[in-house]
Symmetry: C2
Subunit: 422 residues, 2 copies
């Protein structure tokens, strides 16, 4: 018996998991490598950052997902390179693992457009730690405002700047405004949290640039109604511990959140492949790295274009379609069938929510706004959550939050005050 074909998948996000799911029953041995032990449902990460969901409801141990697949081995390890010549991946500790087919689905991080020193002051939102960091900063700012007596410091504590008005920025700003206006007021005695300023700052001409203008205008009105100050056409030119500079106006803000740009992982560097401005590998029509027919690059770390030569967006459905496509190509190759159909992206739609009861849904011809869109958004996300337990738990958290107005995950953890007292 010939040795089994070894597929190595690096990255347990939507793209990597879809590829492994698509290989169910294929005559392959699969190794899934991730530096974390969990898959993260990134579309709901902003809800962890804003106290609606606890971390455990949007993340699942990778190895549990493939418990019933004995051919899948999951390893928590950090990959530091690829040796394309010997067909091996290289780990951070220098050890190596050979592959027959490699699937790089290593995702993206946020990008500060060359101003990496901003990261310390304006954290982005990509990992569970990012989310708990942002949650801690938001909640601590209110705590600090209640504690301090200096009116200037108090005002800075009660000013929240969200940079970037894509879906994540819109969702963050909406929920922070709701938290300040509807949830927190009865719990504070010295400050009126309803007076908090929530700024949504966008360099481009409008919020939700990827959406049709009509929906973007609706979202902006919904944000303003929640008390968000929407600032468009003005880039952030500086960012430090004291606040942000927008155009030439300095705004004192204790809490700044970055939702403006992403940069792909280092897959392009590992392969010595050509990359676009966001660092994404420019892949062939079959999603392989040019010149490396056994190495696929998918998800947020690949620059893929659709039939109309438009870039495929960095959203979960696109990543899943790419993973499923690669699984099909691998199967065809193993069966000796021709596999020359290029990847074709089918755009299902765009969704974004604004606070507790507004949302925008863009299906091309069908466009929804308001409460109906919000319910659609909620049901769609619950449907896509992996694992029955999380589905029920998230539905329960949302229902509880919706009916009572309470938030379930208002904990300040990690970097809180030194713990010498108790």
């Amino acid at each position: 018996m010939a040795q089994e074909h070894h597929v190595v998948v690096v990255g347990g996000g939507f793209a990597g998991l879809a590829c492994i799911r698509g290989l169910r029953g294929a005559k392959v041995k699969i190794t899934l490598i991730d530096q974390r032990n969990h898959h993260l449902f990134q579309p709901l990460l902003y809800q962890v950052a804003t106290t609606i969901l606890p971390t455990s409801e949007i993340a699942w141990p990778l190895r549990r997902l493939f418990k019933e697949r004995p051919e899948v081995t999951t390893l928590m390890a950090t990959v530091s390179g690829v040796d394309c010549h010997s067909k091996e991946i290289v780990f951070a500790d220098g050890s190596r693992m050979s592959f027959d087919t490699l699937v790089l689905a290593t995702g993206a991080r946020h990008s500060y457009f060359g101003r990496d020193e901003w990261e310390a002051h304006a954290p982005g939102l990509k990992t569970l730690e990012d989310a708990t960091t942002i949650r801690r900063r938001i909640l601590s700012a209110f705590e600090r405002a209640e504690w301090c007596d200096d009116p200037n410091e108090r005002e800075a504590c009660l000013t929240f700047a969200v940079i970037g008005a894509g879906p994540t920025g819109v969702e963050l700003a909406g929920i922070i405004a709701e938290l300040a206006r509807r949830v927190l007021p009865p719990e504070f005695r010295r400050i009126d949290t309803a007076k908090a300023r929530v700024l949504l700052i966008e360099a481009g001409p409008r919020v939700l640039p990827a959406f049709p203008e009509k929906l973007a205008r609706y979202a902006e009105r919904a944000l303003v109604k929640l008390g968000v100050e929407v600032i468009t056409d003005r880039p952030v030119t500086a960012c430090d511990g004291g606040g942000v500079v927008v155009g030439d106006e300095r705004i004192a803000a204790k809490t700044t959140i970055w939702a403006a740009g992403v940069m792909a992982s280092k897959a392009a560097q590992w392969l010595g492949a050509e990359a676009d401005r966001a660092g994404r590998v420019i892949v062939a029509p079959d999603l392989t790295a040019p010149g490396h027919p056994d190495i696929f690059v998918i998800g947020d770390t690949a620059a893929v274009t659709d039939a109309a030569d438009k870039p495929v967006p960095g959203i979960a459905p696109a990543a899943k379609q790419q993973g499923a496509y690669v699984a099909r190509v691998i199967r065809q190759r193993l069966a000796g069938e021709p596999s020359d159909a290029p990847f074709r992206y089918r755009h299902a739609g765009n969704l974004a929510t604004v606070g507790r009861s507004a949302a925008v849904v863009d299906f091309g011809r069908l466009q929804l706004t308001g409460a109906l869109a919000w319910w659609f958004w909620g049901l769609a996300h619950i449907y896509f959550l992996i694992g029955t337990r999380s589905r029920l738990a998230v539905a329960y958290s949302w229902l509880w939050s919706y009916l009572t107005g309470q938030k379930s995950a208002r904990l300040i953890t990690q970097g809180s005050a030194a713990s010498s007292q108790k």
Copy 2:
């Protein structure tokens, strides 16, 4: 109108909260100060450390608890001292706040009996961060064992040492053994997690020293049945990154957890008061600090004795009784009534669980073991959880875990591998 009597409560644990609850409707202004923003249900903390419950189900924002009590102001701040002469507390930043009555309920931390350098290698379990640290170490050890090839390192990764066999140590060891034997085996490919060694190391002659011998023997048998190696009468003499030394035997263990001793907070130092060996303030019969009739010290930071001159245990019911007692004394004083009845502790009982379906319950005359005790334990804890949401959520997590054997909170967060890859 005279200025309202100002009660300052430092510490939002069971004792502090019971005191504030007892003062409902009294003519006082209350300030609650804690360095964290949440009350923690410590009796279930070990379940967070062992992946059964997520953090958000056993902790609640303090200020939400007193949302309906406008006379209660909650401040997140660190207290660094007490000026008994001017009747002020001193904060870490040097600012001060005056009080008419002070209630110190600042709790305890774990103690390493003067070997503080052990803490880095053998974390204790008192805060949410402690629990997620221990959870990360336990899960990472299994991950590392699956990853590495060196048989010695693998064995050390699969060895878990729990030091101290009180209720917390017994509960931790039981659940780690269950995790290794029942939950994880189908998810690993290169190692057999069921072969993991779980050691419960106790310097004294038996497990659960505070329980009757019959129950302790039952608990030990239940632990052995789960695969825990119980080592008694042998103190740990050294502890480092590579493992522990028990008596004169060195045991290689990647994960060591400290459940052996506690040390009170610095309340005694703040007051210049006499303390016992564990640093607890030796209080007067009315729980005031000797010489300071307006300063009460309660909960784990006070050394209290019962009518038979036996020390009152450091458990939640004792802390609650003390808080309620102090509230009564404050009310009596405000009403000008005599308040000379000393604090009397009523011992309700001791509970401890061993894994998923065994427990021991000691009510003095009534003693329970086995499944009946386990159900009693579960219902009692659900009953005492604050807030309907948490009650339902914890009941749901437990039921899910009980029926499916799955654990809901298996995330490695905070200190996981550097996040440069994705």
